[in-house]
Symmetry: C2
Subunit: 384 residues, 2 copies
């Protein structure tokens, strides 16, 4: 038996292509070799001369559409693949784009472009920026978020904290990503008490603050937690797709019975972006997260670490907000030191469509007063 | 309200600790700062002076157990955390170890040690090396695997290929990681036909070759595929935990109704290991994969790329095979160029408890003859 005897599919392919831009580091010869490897590595997995069947070799395998070198030892290769290689599965799309390729040094995914036929298979964010604003009753100003923490507090203490934050004008009160189902504050108990606390504060203030519990959980408990949160009256759900897989987030987003805004948190995703290889910030925190249905993308702000800068953050925002067929946009939610003094600069940088975090200065001395300080500062900026 | 007024949990903690060794790059001052950050970043999330409650600050937060510098600008910090911070959830364990920390440059996870109380909450591999050998009826020799590929072949062609591979002595016939549910060869049809083909070949040879389909799939289809594979008579299941999340793999492993050997594939995991930061090969492909229940860990061999070397592979094998409480060991399955000429060296390197891949030389000219060549070479090595 010889591989060249196989004819392969006789299906008529659509001709539509997934276009991926890769940044390749090295000399021209290595770049060319890498570009050709990319065409085969996660689709065909055979050397060029062994590809069987006309359609497989002419249409299904990746092709190098362009290769450009804007600077020494840096190449940008646009490689396209048949949409049929990935069908509608997000897991397989990520595999085609960067499966085994992730193991090779010297290459980074910097852009993914999907044709309408493939985009149409994804729902994307359920609410997007305007839907989230409607839920919160806030038309134009930037939103303000804060985390409940630390682990080790009891559910009662966390709900008191949630009450204080809501009462003093924090719009979005999120579980810290380290709060899961610890016996100190079990998920069901904590969520019930925090939902109740925020409802009570809202009844006093007239605000529409929301509590967003963290449903990052074992595979078989994610939906149980989402359903509990929904039942108790949570206003959104936080998930770390680096820990659950991106498709778990998509699945929660798509569930009509849950139908809550989804907040994507960057925990365990940093390794994709920390080096020159991997996947760019804008693809991970922008394109992939948006395709996977997040209404809000939480990502490290440019003051977070040396591995992310202003350019990266601008590109994330583009990927979050630029038109993308029928897919709604996402609200950016940068996190970092998030001191009071950073609010001005961050609104200038991100505009009004942003969620800013009450961070470093929130827990120093009186928490309620700090909330008011964050809120008033933010309102002051927008009035200008 | 002031954070220092919170008392935190009054639970009696076990005192048992999760110990994690981090490799930190930089000068002593930076290393010390990073070690202290690690203690707080993914558990408490507050600065040291703001940690409320005696138990939170004395027991729940991470502590630096040791900090050593074996060479210039390289430090090893052992940081321990209360087991109660992670409880039994694999997602949360990974978050405590490397959640937001993954975003920071200059730090790599090189070892995770769990106390018995936490280990006892994980089942680990269902079969392990001896269980897999029993299923395959092979006592001592190294096993031989090969991939079905490329995408674009029809189910009928792939099943003919599976038949040829099984008939000529390949022990483990796996779907390539790029085969999922494409219309060229839909999952149900392909699995049914390939299972039947391998059964038929076994009935002729008397071997116990197995077919291992790829169940990497959208979140809500993983179990459907596992169940279909089981029903059709698959001999194992391939999953890419980088795409599904590690806990999806654990969940499939733990399901008593499926109870098939689990093969963990490295697709989309490379970014954790490709740079100096991130997570070491032995932790990703050894410790985490084993805790998540893989019977076989597929990983890049030292000839695969410049980012993995012989030392890395030796460490993966240690993490896969060293005693670990009640948790069974895993069979290493290195993949790379996997030419015929590499078999000798690889058996010398890995020993008999290894699955070697019929790789580069398998698809050149007659596939059946190449299988026999791979098999005879391997049998010859063991006889020595």
């Amino acid at each position: 038996m010889n591989i060249s005897n196989f004819k392969g599919t006789d299906m008529q392919l659509s001709g539509e292509r997934i276009k991926v831009t890769y940044k390749i580091f090295g000399e021209e010869e290595e770049a060319l070799k890498m570009a050709k490897d990319i065409c085969l590595e996660d689709t065909i997995g055979l050397p060029e001369n062994l590809i069987p069947g006309n359609r497989i070799s002419s249409q299904i395998k990746g092709t190098v559409d362009s290769l450009e070198s804007p600077e020494s030892e840096v190449y940008y290769a646009v490689v396209s693949f048949a949409v049929e290689a990935a069908e509608g599965e997000l897991t397989q799309l990520l595999n085609v784009v960067f499966g085994n390729l992730s193991i090779k040094p010297g290459v980074q995914v910097v852009k993914i472009e999907l044709p309408e036929s493939l985009l149409s298979l994804y729902n994307g964010p359920r609410y997007g920026i305007s839907g989230l604003r409607k839920l919160l009753g806030i038309q134009k100003r930037p939103l303000l978020s804060a985390d409940l923490k630390p682990i080790g507090l009891t559910s009662e203490e966390l709900s008191k904290l949630a009450y204080e934050l809501a009462l003093n004008g924090i719009d979005i009160i999120r579980d810290d990503h380290a709060l899961t189902d610890q016996t100190f504050a079990p998920f069901d108990e904590r969520v019930s008490m925090c939902c109740e606390a925020v409802r009570k504060a809202n009844s006093i203030t007239g605000f529409k603050s929301i509590y967003v519990p963290n449903i990052t959980a074992p595979y078989d408990e994610i939906f149980l937690r989402a359903e509990t949160a929904k039942k108790e009256g949570a206003g959104g759900l936080l998930i770390c797709p680096g820990l659950t897989g991106f498709d778990a987030m998509r699945c929660v987003t798509d569930d009509i019975n849950i139908a809550l805004p989804i907040f994507s948190h960057p925990a365990f995703l940093g390794s994709f972006t920390v080096g020159p290889d991997g996947i760019s910030h804008s693809v991970i925190y922008g394109q992939i997260v948006r395709l996977a249905g997040a209404d809000v993308t939480i990502f490290p702000n440019y003051d977070y670490s040396f591995s992310i800068n202003e350019k990266d953050c601008r590109e994330i925002v583009s990927s979050a907000k630029d038109p993308l067929g029928h897919i709604k946009n996402m609200m950016p939610n940068p996190i970092g030191s998030a001191g009071l003094e950073s609010l001005h600069e961050n609104v200038n940088f991100y505009g009004n469509d942003v969620i800013l975090q009450a961070g470093r200065d929130l827990y120093q001395n009186d928490i309620g007063e700090n909330c008011i300080r964050y809120r008033n500062t933010l309102l002051g900026i927008v009035r200008k």
